[in-house]
Structure formats: C-alpha cells, structure tokens
Chain length 431, copies 2
Amino acid sequence: MSAHKNIYIGMLGCGVVGSQVAALLEKNNAELSTRAGAKLILKKIAVRDIKAAREGINQSLFTTDAQSVIDDSEIDIIIEVMGGIDPARELILAAIKNGKSVITANKALLALHGADLFTAADNKGVDLYYEAAVAGAIPIIRPMRESLVGDQITRVMGIVNGTTNYILTKMDEEGRAFADVLKEAQSLGYAEADPTADVEGIDAASKAAIIAGLAFHSRVSVDDVYREGISSITADDVAVAKTMNHVIKLLAIAELTSDDRISVRVHPTLIPRSHPLAAVRNAFNAVFVEAKSAGQLMFYGPGAGGAPTASAILGDVVAVARHRVSDSVGPRESDYADRAIAPIGDTKTQFLIRLNVADKPGVLAAIAQVFAKEGVSIQTVRQSGRGNDAELIVVSHGATEEALSSTVSALSKMDIVTKVESVLRVLGSQS
Amino acid sequence: MSAHKNIYIGMLGCGVVGSQVAALLEKNNAELSTRAGAKLILKKIAVRDIKAAREGINQSLFTTDAQSVIDDSEIDIIIEVMGGIDPARELILAAIKNGKSVITANKALLALHGADLFTAADNKGVDLYYEAAVAGAIPIIRPMRESLVGDQITRVMGIVNGTTNYILTKMDEEGRAFADVLKEAQSLGYAEADPTADVEGIDAASKAAIIAGLAFHSRVSVDDVYREGISSITADDVAVAKTMNHVIKLLAIAELTSDDRISVRVHPTLIPRSHPLAAVRNAFNAVFVEAKSAGQLMFYGPGAGGAPTASAILGDVVAVARHRVSDSVGPRESDYADRAIAPIGDTKTQFLIRLNVADKPGVLAAIAQVFAKEGVSIQTVRQSGRGNDAELIVVSHGATEEALSSTVSALSKMDIVTKVESVLRVLGSQS
Ligand SMILES: NC(=O)c1ccc[n+]([C@@H]2O[C@H](COP(=O)([O-])OP(=O)(O)OC[C@H]3O[C@@H](n4cnc5c(N)ncnc54)[C@H](OP(=O)(O)O)[C@@H]3O)[C@@H](O)[C@H]2O)c1
Ligand SMILES: NC(=O)c1ccc[n+]([C@@H]2O[C@H](COP(=O)([O-])OP(=O)(O)OC[C@H]3O[C@@H](n4cnc5c(N)ncnc54)[C@H](OP(=O)(O)O)[C@@H]3O)[C@@H](O)[C@H]2O)c1
C-alpha cells in the first residue's frame, strides 16, 4: 500500500444526484473512509449558479469554473453528475488526461461516446466507473462485469425507465388511456413536462446500448439501438394483453443472435404474467439477465432518484478510492469480442397483430393464406366481437421484422381487413 | 503489476459443483485468464474416491491427499467445494496459513466458523471469498459488500432455499398438502431423501447468519438464528393466506431493531401477493434488501445447481486472481459494528392466528379481551364457517413473540376455543 492518507474528490454538478452524493459523503464519511482505506475529502464542486441555496453543503466548495476542478492536482477522483453531452465529455476527457479516475451517472454520454472515453481511461490507466448510469441504485454493472465474468451472457432484458413503467402499470391496473395517465404522471412529478425522452424510449435506448456493450464485450452506441416508444399503446392493446394473461412492458433488449451478432432494441413487449419482469410495478426498474451457466437472474430496485443514485455512486467511489490507495485499477472495459450489430430487419420475434375484419365466412382462411405466403407461421388466432366490431388477434411464431412488415402491408391491402389495429411484439423464443 | 504469469488453483472436492468449476475453467480458460490478467491453471483436485468416472477432467489432477493440495507451494488459490465442517475447516485454515487465498461455497462452515476463518484470512492478508455460499448463482455477496458499501442496509429478507420454495409454490398453486408435495419433490430430485436440513430451515439459517453478518458488519453465527421450518404448514394455512391475497414463503430475515441490535430468523411468513418476493416461484431464490439510500432492491435467480454455483465461484476466482496479480487483497470482511443479537422474544412481528371457536354470541368480545389483556392489538378479525366449523382468523398489529406466546396460551385455555389451529407470522411493519 502506498502512503495515501487522503483521497480528494471533485464533483461536477450538484443537482438532484450531486446534492445527495455530497450529503452522504459527509454523513457517512468515517465508514466510507474506513472501507476505502483513506480519508475521503470532497474538495470542490462545479455548478452553474453558485448562489443557489444548497442546504448542508459547505458554501466554500462551490465554483463555476469546472476546469479548475479538473486541473486541481490534488484531486484524485472526479464525480460527473452534471449531465448532458457537452461540456461533460470534454471535462471527463481532460480529467482522465490529468490522471484522475472518473465516476459518472451520465448514460446519454456513455451511450454516445463511451468507446472514446473508455479508451482514454484505459490508455491512461485510470478507472471510469458508471454503476449509477443504468438502473440507478440497482447494482447491475458490477454484477455483470465481475460476478458473471466467468460466465457467458446470452440475453439481457430490462425495464430501465421508471416513467414508462409507471404509465404502463397504471394502464394495466386501471384500464386507463395513455394520455390520461401521462398527464397524471406529469402532475405527480413522475414524468417531465417534455416527456419525449422517456415515452419514446430514448432514455431506455441509452441504457440498452451500455448494457449490450458490457454483456457482449463489444462497442455499442445508442445509434445501434432500434427504438419504439409507448405513446401509441392503447387501452385496447393493454386489455387484449390482459385476456392473454400478459402485460405490456417497455423492454430494453440486448441479445446474441444465433450467428453471434448483437440484437439491441427498445420496444413495448407483451410478457406473460408469470415472468418475473411482469411483477415490476410503477416506477421500479429491473434487469433480467440470462447466462449460460448462471441461468436466469434478475436485479430489481428503484431506477432513479437522488438518494438511490447517490448510493450507487458511493459504491463506485469506495472501489475507485481503494484502487488509488493500492495504486491499481479495476478490470478494464472489455471490447475484445467486437461483435457486429444485427439490423432490426433480421431480428426474429413473435408478433401479436390485431385486425379489424369483416365478420363473414372464409375470412380466417384468407388471412391465414397471407401469413403463409409471407412465410410467417401462426401460433394462435382468436376472434373477438361480431359484425362490424369483429377483431382477429393473431400471434405469430418467431418471424423477422422484414417478413412481418410485408405481411402487415399485404394484410392492410385486403378488402376484408378494415384496419390493422396494432402490431406488438411478444416475448417468446427466437424461432 | 508483479511478474505473475500463471495462477495455480487447487480444488477440494469434485462433485456437483466442483465438476462444473473444472469444466468451465477448462472451457472458458482463455477468456477467464484474460480477465484475471494471468493464465489460470487448475493443478490439483482432492477427492475421496479417485476411481470414480469424472468425464472431461484430466485424470492426473486427482488425489485423495487433500493436504498435498494445501501444501503445494505453487498453488495460489484453493477452491473448497467438498462441503461439511471437518476436514473442510482445518484444510481452509491450513491453506490460509500457507498464504493461499480461498474461495468456498460452504455456507454451513461459514455460518458456524466464519469469524475464525475471516480473522485468519485477514491476519494473513489473503482473500476468503464466498459468493456461491448464499443463493448460488445470484450475485448477492458482492453487491452487498461493494455496491452498497456507501449505504446502510436496514433489512434483508431472502427466499434462500429452493426446496422449500418449490414445496410452498406447489401448495399455493395446486392446493396440495405438504407431505404430498414433499414426496413429489423427492422423486423429482428437488428434495433429498432426508429433507430435514431444507424443510426445517437449517440450510436457510446458515445463509441468514452469513447475510446478517455481512449486512450489519457484525459476527453472526448460525446459533444466533431463530428458526422454524415449513413442515407444520397445512393446506388450510395456505388457503387462508390466499383469501387474504397473501402467499406463504419461508423467509430468512435479518433486520436492525430500533435499538440497533440484529434480529435474525428463519420462519414461514405471509407476504402480500404484490410484494416482489411473492412472485418468486418454484426452486428460484431471491434476496430482498432494504437500504437507507438505495431503497428496496431485489436479487433473483437459481439458488443452486452445479453450473449456476460454478458461475458464482468463477467470478470469485477472477477477482481473487486479479488481486494476486497486483499483490493486493479485496476489502476485508468487516465486523467493526459488533452489534448484539436481539432474542426472538423481543422481536416484533405481525401474527395471524387461526382459532376453532364455538359459534355463539359474545365469542368475539371474549377473545378480543384476551388480546387486549396481553397488550396485543388486533388489526383485523374474520370469521369463516358456522357451527362446529366456525373459525376466527385474527391478524395482530406488531407484537413481541413473548406477548404473542402468552396470548396463545391464554386463548387455548378458553372454553369457547376448541383449538388454536395455527400461528403464523405476517410481513408488515415492526410496530
Ligand atoms: N436524477 C436521477 O434520478 C438520475 C438517475 C440516474 C442517473 N442520473 C444522471 O445523473 C446526472 C445528473 O442528474 P441530476 O438529476 O442530478 O441533474 P440536475 O438536477 O439537473 O443537476 C445538474 C447539476 O449540474 C450542474 N451543471 C449543469 N451544467 C453545468 C455546467 N455546464 N457547468 C457547471 N455545472 C453544471 C447544475 O448546476 P446548477 O445547480 O447551478 O444548475 C446542477 O447542479 C445526469 O447525467 C443524469 O442522467 C440521474
Ligand atoms: N450443489 C449445489 O447446488 C450447491 C449450491 C451452493 C453451494 N453448495 C455447496 O458446495 C459444496 C459442495 O457441494 P456439492 O453439491 O458439489 O457436493 P458433492 O456433490 O457431495 O461433492 C462433494 C465432493 O467433495 C469430495 N469430498 C468430500 N469429502 C471429502 C474429503 N474428506 N476429502 C476429499 N474429498 C472429499 C467428494 O469426493 P468424491 O467425489 O470422491 O465423493 C466430492 O467430489 C457444499 O459446501 C455445498 O453446501 C452446493
């Protein structure tokens, strides 16, 4: 052990998350320092508005000059909780260049520029840790990276966005419409005034990219992630799922295809109620991991919030500080597998298709023929309603998105099909 | 980094778990070695019967002389998967004395002699890792130890025994009796010929002790754990739970009492169906953790089996090997808090009491009076059946076990009470 007595920490940002990090670093300092093997000292905090009231945090720590935090030669560790791409990216790169280890909660940045950041950290021999970036307080990065290091992950499915899970839970449990629940979520503070990043799956896509890269030892960017949000899910979709004993969840899915490529996507998915992910309600998150030896694992907890996210950051602080004390670094981010991304057109899933049809003899035969012609095999068909309200609910076996698209376009051209109500994916086997 | 090129491993035992460890070490050697930073070489394996067929493992590795594995000066890491207390304990202590790091899956041993073993490892400056000892493949030790190190755990509740969870699941879903399901579980290999260690909660108690020690930074032995098994749970108990929208699970509970002592116990518990633990079916395990900042977390997966358990062991192998390569050790087992154990008599829980009563006016008043006299306050009472079949189902508010015992003994002395059918705990608040 080197003679490190103090580990100095600089923080970028002091909002929802940062203020909790500062509070916990103060409150649990003795214990954290014992665990780290050195006294942890929060030395500087960069913010935009130095005058804002930030209760319980020593006013003299604040500066608006973020660069001065990065350039402080005494500081060992930078915690980045300012968010956004710029200037967070430049600041983290400069911190690494200055030999500091970095802890960040910034999923958007990692999903866009992770490869560059990890390369920089690796070249410099410093740590870049990010447990808080995916699913908040839930330990998921460390288990995937360290506990499962002797195993091979084959699929990860996550409920990684609390806002959309809250909305879908209410739609499921109370039979309400999307717009109605969204408004309520906004008034309760569960959804932002501009809910786009959440409801359109943009936030989940960032997390999917991070998870896919980690699980499959490759570099995956948010641009590789196929994405559909939940804004077009109707109360009828939810009700139909219910009659099938399924529930609709927005899943971030990263899986290995049979030809060893990575399929990574975010979309609403019908899952059986007996599946562990089905029981994840309201704003809770969960990540379901399938590995060759370990089997099926699930990690569940609050995916956001200041205190939970701060808890995850402090776990990283102790780990990184221990490395500083012993002059070592953690395992480097691994991208040795360098797998290709499978385009969504190649991805096989099961589909549920709801069709408004004319209620007369021969309809089913005609429709089944269209599926057959496109090479999409049918698992179940169910008719509900009669006359003008007749609806056919078709669940396919595993089919590629390509085959599905041409099936849907052929169906919508049929006279007997009044409308293709919706097309949803169903969790099932890949073939 | 030191000049370590090879890390030699010795293994004690090669049964269900050990054979999978050997197979995975061979199959994934390149990847594991890359991650460890040194070539991992399995050098010797101690068994009792050297002649048994062990497919795919190089016959020349085996020896019946376990001491020769411990004394091999080239060996860096010992994996103990032989089970039992003796000679496992002496062998691990000798290995530590010889400067080797140890990885063990032996919950029974850790729950009995953990304190001595951890002290020995700490004094010698070697690692003693045990991810596989609690809940098999589920990463729970590392998350509690490392991810939550910056937080304060207040309660842990685990379904940590697959056999009993399988039995309770079948009783719940199929309305069957304990003895009937046990027999089926035995024929399917889910329960052993002598099921005592599982159904009486002995195995769960070992895990409860390990979890409690880890969560509350204290030394907790299996002798500190209050224990009740599931063999007296009846189909009627399960049915009553069902009418209340609850399910009965065997929980290992470790919690901090209001006066900062540790309450640690294993017993059947009614939990609401909306609780994440309620969805844990069949032989799956799950550990639910409540922490001050992180909130409620749950870790779910297979709790046993050769391959899952081996996966957990290999995660430890890579971590420990990395420490060897960098001449460091992981965080030491912490027992600084040194908290006292609260006796079960002091532990407050909610109870459900089923009473066979005479169906006549005034019964409820008389019974309520007994509860009041003993200071146990009632949350709900429900009568089911009439005449000779009349049953009262009383759920109390939080009460100590002591108050409860005297209430039950007073009730059973009443003329109008034909029988106290059962007394079960209900998951709820402590007061
Ligand atoms: N909130 C959560 O639950 C959660 C969960 C997981 C991950 N995260 C991630 O954590 C990060 C922070 O989130 P948050 O919710 O804490 O954000 P926030 O409340 O908006 O706080 C951002 C902080 O950064 C400071 N800041 C922003 N731009 C700056 C600049 N150019 N220079 C100096 N300081 C600047 C702000 O200063 P002022 O105070 O002066 O405005 C503020 O203190 C984001 O990457 C987010 O994605 C958040
Ligand atoms: N099985 C699981 O799913 C599981 C899950 C979590 C933890 N664990 C723990 O893992 C450990 C091993 O379990 P297991 O199921 O693999 O047991 P197992 O199948 O009974 O294997 C035990 C192995 O140890 C060897 N052995 C026993 N006593 C020995 C002695 N005195 N000297 C030399 N070798 C000896 C046996 O040799 P022979 O082959 O010659 O008989 C056998 O290879 C236990 O502590 C258990 O609690 C098991």
